[in-house]
Symmetry: C2
Subunit: 313 residues, 2 copies
């Protein structure tokens, strides 16, 4: 069984590829919930929804968030009613947040609500929140301490980051499905997601980093940094601000305690030796996923690599 | 100052007329909240919203509910997500319920939330819920005890009604603005709304019926029954099922303890003597309000009548 750890768009792309190859009982997809936020009294889980919309074929590839064909009537009226509407939420999207909030208020855990919502969307694979307990990614910046969406969406990732914290992580537990997948997985895949804002929140849950470090030989990451910049989002900017090297080598240093291999893009082939010197086995592949064939191709490569790792272990 | 008591569409039409004549400080509009219901975890106040949409010029005259130009993307997705979606809620409409629910959860009273929402819609006149406490109109029917929306919308008012109850009314208090208006009003107008489902819930709040009975000479009702049938909705059907006469005379009997005069439609002129015999002064007018001019016209007639009443009292 494979366990994929993912955050936003890049992670969802690789997860779609993995789900196209592995049957539902052989893949568990654990998703960052450190970005979760209350908007208009509703529980919004951006990464869970990006994953759900991607796997259900509903994702809006043009905007990079939300659902294809969505409209914004509800948000327009909320603005008129005096609500803060800097976070874009479409009419169809609102239904997810309304229903999730209702299920949570009725006593469901976030895992249970996610299973119900994704099942209704026809998704057969398990999408599991990293925790049913609230963990909130907070950024120390030159504009003060900011929650993730405030930093990323409202302020367009412009403030300079000096530290990232995961509020609530110290008392959070892995969601039951995550704990089970950690025990059962023979392969762990760290999807190309933001190391600080998507992967680190998952690692911050007590016991998770230790469990993955203990399985390091079975863990493969895909670099979200290609050609010295993030494929998408603020990972490169934050990496530089935190004093790291914005490159696959920086990613290798970030992940070396948790994974034995790092898939790097062909355009970073020249840094393979440096990745190896950082203590992580470099694997060169085409990692830019534009088409579904790209996603399946990279997923196949990662899974073959994992099988080889297991074989040679 | 005038105090108008109203329920749904008919009440909102007359209130629009009254608001076209009286400045905001001379009119208080108190609205039934016995129809309020939780849908998808959101607080929906159908009569408050019908009033707000009507006064803001947003009301959908074609469907008879909701907002003009509204769409149904959120509801469609909620259906897909397994929610019960028999109660129609549009995308723009959802914003009202989302924002109201958020304000209530933050500690606002329903009065405060209503003032905030209606103010944001540019409504200058006070729209006041009958109570900030929950009152729920429940119908004893041959299909069991039904909440108002279940009876009216889901079951299309088809079950036979044997009694109407107002759950929670015994411990409810009039909203502060309603209590103040009851003290200050020199005219009380009962709009053409359902006597059992719109007006009676207001009267069921302790102290309200007594206060209005004490002001009976200043209270004028407009009949929601015209030509032996309700202009709109199930008022006639319920009236018959409860053993009343479906006519302006039946309305006069229903209201005789609370109002001195009843405006009846010209087509009911032949029943004027019977209305008088029931103990209520009949006033003949054109009460069908199709155009805004109709609404202003009827409102003017009612207000002139009220002034005359006060003069001759």
């Amino acid at each position: 069984m494979a366990l994929a750890l993912a955050g936003g768009v890049g992670g969802a792309k690789l997860a779609l590829g993995l789900a196209g190859i592995l049957p539902p009982d052989r893949l568990a997809i654990v998703v960052n919930t450190g970005d979760d936020e209350q908007f208009h009294g509703l529980h919004v889980s951006p990464d869970l929804d990006t994953m759900a919309y991607t796997l259900a074929g509903l994702y809006n590839q043009e905007t990079g968030w939300g659902l294809a064909g969505d409209t914004f009537q509800t948000l327009g009226m909320l603005h008129r009613l005096g609500a803060d509407t800097w976070f874009n939420l479409g009419d169809i999207d609102f239904a997810m947040h309304i229903r999730r909030t209702e299920l949570l208020r009725e006593g469901a855990t976030l895992s249970e609500a996610t299973a119900e919502l994704t099942g209704r969307l026809g998704i057969k694979h398990r999408i599991i929140p990293m925790s049913d307990d609230p963990v909130r990614t907070m950024l120390d910046t030159d504009a003060g301490l900011l929650a993730m969406q405030d930093y990323f969406v409202r302020r367009r990732a412009e403030p300079r980051v000096s530290a990232v914290r995961y509020a609530g992580a110290e008392t959070a537990r892995p969601a039951p499905g995550f704990a089970e997948a950690l025990r059962q997985a023979d392969t762990i895949i760290i999807c190309p997601s933001n190391p600080y804002l998507s992967v680190a929140p998952i690692m911050a849950i007590p016991g998770v980093r230790e469990a993955i470090e203990a399985r390091r030989a079975d863990c493969i990451a895909v670099s979200p940094i290609v050609g010295g910049a993030a494929v998408r989002g603020p990972a490169g900017k934050i990496m530089a601000e935190l004093g790291g090297e914005v490159s696959v080598v920086g990613v290798a240093r970030e992940y070396r305690s948790i994974c034995a291999a790092l898939v790097i893009d062909a355009q970073d082939a020249g840094r393979a030796d440096d990745v190896a010197a950082a203590g992580v086995r470099p694997i060169i592949a085409d990692t830019i996923m534009n088409t579904d064939a790209d996603k399946i191709g990279l997923a196949e490569r990662v899974l073959r690599l994992a099988a080889a790792e297991v074989t040679t272990a």
